[in-house]
Amino acid sequence: MVIAADPLLLGPIGLEVFLIILIKVVASFVLLMVSVMLMVWFERKLISDMQNRIGPDVAGPWGILQTLADGIKLFFKEDLIPENADRPVFKLAPYLSLVPAFLVFAIVPIGGDFRTGDGTVGWFGHRTFLQVADPPMGILLFLALSSVAVYGVMLAGWSSGSKYPLLGSVRASAQMISYEAALGLAIATVFLTGGSLSTHEIVSSQSNWNWNVATTGVVPFLIFLVAGTAELNRPPFDLVEAEQELVGGFHTEYSSIRFALFFLAEFMNVITMSAIAVTLFLGGPDGPILVEQVAWIWPILWFSLKLLAFLFSFVWLRATLPRIRYDQLMDLGWKVLIPLALGWFLLIAALNVGRDRGWSPVPVVLVSVAVLWAGAAMLGGAVRKARAERRAIELGSDEVLDAGDGA
């Protein structure tokens, strides 16, 4: 059974290797917990700055311990289970949300010099990757776990035995499934360019001068950002928790520590999604090494800076954009993002085939663009026709109603 291509695991596995793995696991756990704590504080503080408020400022310097205080409060609150709830599923659901959020981070390389070296670091005389695991299926693990996370949301809503959570969870799972397709297609272009599913290999393939910006950095990256935001149920795609319509969404009936677990999972997902975006599109820990004496610290620093840029923009989006309507959400996902991602994927695939066969790229691009344009025109025609028909029906029935009222 091959789990990883990490050089650490190729040799004999003794106590030292075991301890290194243990340290990695514990470190990534602690790192995630601490960064969630800081992320909650960062989001509240930043959003209050953007809205001319002060935000949390009592617990600790600049209110930095606010999350800890909230966590302790939630921990000691009474844990309620509604009478209509399906008890085992109600208790299971928060964990189904939380566990995938943790596991995804295992495949993110957070350090290691990919530009001159092979992305390994030396620890106690062993060479190893700075990521918990580098499974051969790599980034597919991320897709698999994000499809498991849908269960947490869906079952939480259903098992509450109450209508608002059920509506919220149906909305949430429909949204997450719809956008998973666009997300997967955007990631497929990255496989195609990187030539591998493993996150380590993908980062290695990006660690040239331009991070493959031309093929993956524009169209797939933007699709990934939009679909990722929708997958996270973050604003402007937070219809799941639309307070005006759904009370609190799928976790309305949850309180105390179970609610805290959902909250934790939500923020952890923001961090892991940003980390995945950095890994897939921005070269992961790649960056110039400025001071040779502490060469190991620069990749980690670059990774953290890139991560921070994403976290900032997620908060920025929340502070800036109004929530979109449900039909707009579905239109954007199915009629714009999926065809666009698919078209770009086919274009890159055609270019790759052309390069292998030694064809000139110009006719390849021209033919592909012509085919894609024809496809897009057909799709656009279908969408327009459907819209016109629907409008005709709506207008027609309105007219009929008006006439009926007048008579």
Binding site: P136, L140, A144, S147, G396
Partner: protein, 199 residues
């Protein structure tokens, strides 16, 4: 090590399968099915089929069972079913007969047939690195089995188109739009677009 993983995941798969059969609540049954799917994914990992393991979870747990759950939740059949009513007459005896037949065929194929169930030699060593899973599958699917793949794609497309056609209430020239049909005095009919369906 491999034996231990196999035993644990086999127990997970089998207990999930029994759970599907024995759970009275359809949602619980669907969750047991997910458990079974995960067990099978681990078995794939054990065979170095990492790509299949991931796809197993993405497709079966992530899409198919989610759709089951959607249907169960939206149709509101998520309460324990009354087992005294037989929905289709003669369904249960027929199910017993067919089940016994399948069990018998499988057992005889496994136990009696000479040289294994298919007669082909078993693959008991990896074909290559675990890393090139996706490449091998891609080569097999798009060279040797390309017609099967394309036919499956066509079948799925037909299924999607069929589903869309079934869902659309007002489609095609056979069903006149209520706008055209509805003069002001037949207003009552115009309100309910469903009526066009019979046409």
């Amino acid at each position: 090590m491999d034996a231990a993983v196999f035993i644990v995941s086999a127990v997970i798969v089998l207990s999930g399968a029994f759970g599907v059969l024995l759970a009275r609540n359809p949602v619980h049954a669907a969750l047991f099915l997910v458990q079974s799917v995960f067990g099978v994914a681990v078995l794939f990992l054990l065979l170095d089929a990492t790509f299949l393991a991931a796809v197993q979870v993405i497709v079966y747990a992530g899409a198919i069972v989610i759709l089951f759950l959607f249907v169960i939740m939206l149709l509101g059949v998520d309460r324990a079913e009354d087992l005294d009513v037989e929905p289709i007459a003669g369904q249960r005896p027929l199910a017993v007969v067919i089940g016994a037949g399948i069990l018998g065929t499988t057992l005889s194929a496994l136990l009696v047939a000479v040289g294994g169930p298919t007669g082909a030699p078993a693959t008991n060593a990896p074909l290559g690195d675990a890393g090139d899973n996706a490449q091998r599958l891609g080569e097999a699917l798009f060279t040797d089995h390309v017609f099967a793949v394309e036919l499956t794609a066509l079948l799925l497309t037909v299924a999607v188109v069929g589903a869309v056609v079934l869902v659309r209430r007002l489609a095609g020239p056979l069903q006149p739009l209520p706008v055209a049909a509805a003069a002001p005095e037949t207003q009552g009919e115009a309100d309910t677009p469903d009526e066009g369906e019979g046409a």
